[in-house]
């Protein structure tokens, strides 16, 4: 089984000093919604950007393997990568308000994706834009073609971004916190939309989020990221049922789950903050915040299996303590 997107041991460095991503591994299968979760600063967005080769100046990526549908992304030239972006891999961002160019109409910004990658006339591209805007639930799509971004609300702009990302029928959509900047009702609409698109178009989605509620709603599989590493990977239901890594457990104990949280008992929290990881760091990055940590956590940590599609990065054996209170 070869995944659509297969990343192994991704490392991203900024300016040669700090490592934002330290050996992250991630597989996204065809047609699945894969969530990458973790708190702020753990390297989720950097991982997404490095897939697209869109890292800010000074960012350098390297990996043991980084392939998309059998193509080695690391060996592609800038020009070849540009041919892939917006075409077979699309990306949407956290900031719908500023992600569209204020100086051009929606129609022109959408049409240029199709004409760039698939050729054809502008008229045909505009027709496609109208069709997709209708599909993502934008009312009066013909009217939007001539409108400018500042005339649209945040939710509409994010829908435009999504429609624009779909122009060339991509196989993978990388969505970097697409709903964080939107209010809750719009957030729910966008998530439903992404789920529908995935089902109807067979689109694989790599959804980056810090919101476990979103994960529970839309994800097929989850990768949990901490301090630049993927510390646990599992199918969604399994991850919520039997989380293995202490960090994942901590995360889950912070969210109220109906039927699981008891009245009058405080929600959990993880003490401390994500540590700064310098070069030459070894062992488990979570050990300074982990109640199970001992001296052996400073050594190389094995990746343990907790099921056929479930693994985690911790020296502790599966089910090392009482399961979460049910």
């Amino acid at each position: 089984m070869s995944a659509l997107l297969d990343i192994e041991d991704l490392e991203v460095m900024f300016g040669g000093r700090s490592a934002a991503v330290r050996g992250a591994s991630l597989q996204v299968e065809k047609g699945e919604t894969h969530c990458l979760v973790g708190e702020s600063g753990c390297g989720k967005s950097v991982t997404a950007l490095s897939i697209m080769n869109l890292l800010a100046r000074g960012g350098r990526r390297s990996a043991k393997r980084m392939s998309f549908a059998g193509t080695d992304l690391l060996s592609l030239s800038d020009r070849e990568m540009a041919r892939l972006r917006g075409n077979r891999i699309s990306m949407i961002f956290q900031e719908p308000m500023t992600s569209l160019n204020p100086a051009f109409t929606i129609g022109s910004q959408m049409a240029e994706v199709l004409t760039r990658h698939k050729g054809g006339s502008r008229t045909a591209a505009l027709e496609r834009a109208v069709e997709l805007m209708g599909r993502v639930g934008i009312t009066a799509p013909e009217m939007r073609l001539g409108q400018f971004p500042h005339q649209l609300s945040g939710g509409l702009r994010q829908r435009v971004m999504i429609a624009m990302a779909l122009m060339c029928d991509p196989e993978l959509l990388v969505a970097d916190e697409p709903t964080t900047a939107l209010d809750v009702t719009v957030q729910a609409q966008i998530l439903r939309l992404l789920a529908t698109l995935k089902r109807e178009l067979g689109l694989a989605i790599l959804l980056i989020t810090h919101d476990l509620g979103i994960v529970a709603r839309v994800a097929d599989r989850v990768s949990v990221m901490y301090a630049g590493e993927v510390v646990e990977r599992a199918p969604t239901a399994e991850l919520f049922r039997s989380p293995q890594h202490p960090y994942t457990r901590g995360l889950l104990s912070c969210v109220p789950v109906p039927g699981r949280v008891q009245r009058d008992r405080p929600l959990g929290s993880i003490p401390g903050v994500v540590p700064a990881i310098g070069p030459g760091f070894a062992g488990c990055a979570f050990r300074s915040r982990c109640s199970h940590a001992d001296a052996s956590c400073e050594r190389e940590i094995p990746r343990r299996q907790a099921g056929s599609a479930h693994d985690y990065l911790c020296r502790l054996a599966p089910q090392f303590s009482e399961p979460q209170p049910a």
Binding site: M52, D78, R83, F93, E95, A103, F104, R116
Partner: protein, 305 residues
Amino acid sequence: MLLLIARRLGLGLLVALTVMTLAFMLTRLSGDLAISIAGPSATQADVEIIRKAYGLDRPLYVQFFSWVGRAMVGDFGQSYFFKDSVSNLIAKRLPITLTLGLVGLSLALIISIPLGILAAVRENTWLDRGVTMFTMVGQAIPSFWLALILMIVLGLNLGILPISGTGTWQHFVMPGIVLAFTAIPALTRLTRSGMIEAMASDYIRTARAKGLSRARIIFKHALRNAAIPVVSIAAVQLGFMLGGSIVIETVFALHGVGYLGWESIAKNDFPVVQAVVLVLAAIYIGLTLLSDILNALLDPRLRTG
């Protein structure tokens, strides 16, 4: 859009009126005009005759309104010195100044915009630093000095360009270069900073995520946004160039409006001075209006204003 233009036009008219008032007041404040016209050897009686003849004995406000009234229909009176109507004088001199200004601005834009873009996309390289250095030196060089150096090198030593006069198009090359140099540093730096800001923006990240070519990202998506402040400043710079071309017109003996203004100030030919100030102000107002319209075309957010 029409509302915007109408509003800016109204504003322009008010500015023109203010300039008229100021030009009038300042020429009156510079001393008794009758005495200076009559000259140092005139008797008191001569001065009185001149005062009467030029209508300077009337109350100030009468003089002002009669001047404004006639200026509205394009009659700026007679020059005291040139024995010609002021309107004729300006009509003859204006094309020279406008040619010079346009040559200067075109040169400035042709040089500074590519230079600014280049510096921005190669930010923090030796090329970028070189451009920044060039703009700093350019800003520090006085235009009369550059004019003299060019005259010596291109005119006298190499003999490839004429050093003064307005006979052929070659006469406009050197003044044009000098004039362009007054605007190049500011325009280059503005283009550079605008492009750097645009290239770091979210919509450029989107453009890259869409897989657009580098040329399209730079010249379509980034430049369109970086151009907005450049257009505003370029219009103001052209105004400066036309007004500030006094120095250059003098050095190169180009008989344009600037030179006319300089001559008439020296000779106390105040109808001409007032008219020159007014014409330059009108050009300024026109340019500002033009830049507002261009900006509204470039930036849709301004169109509703």
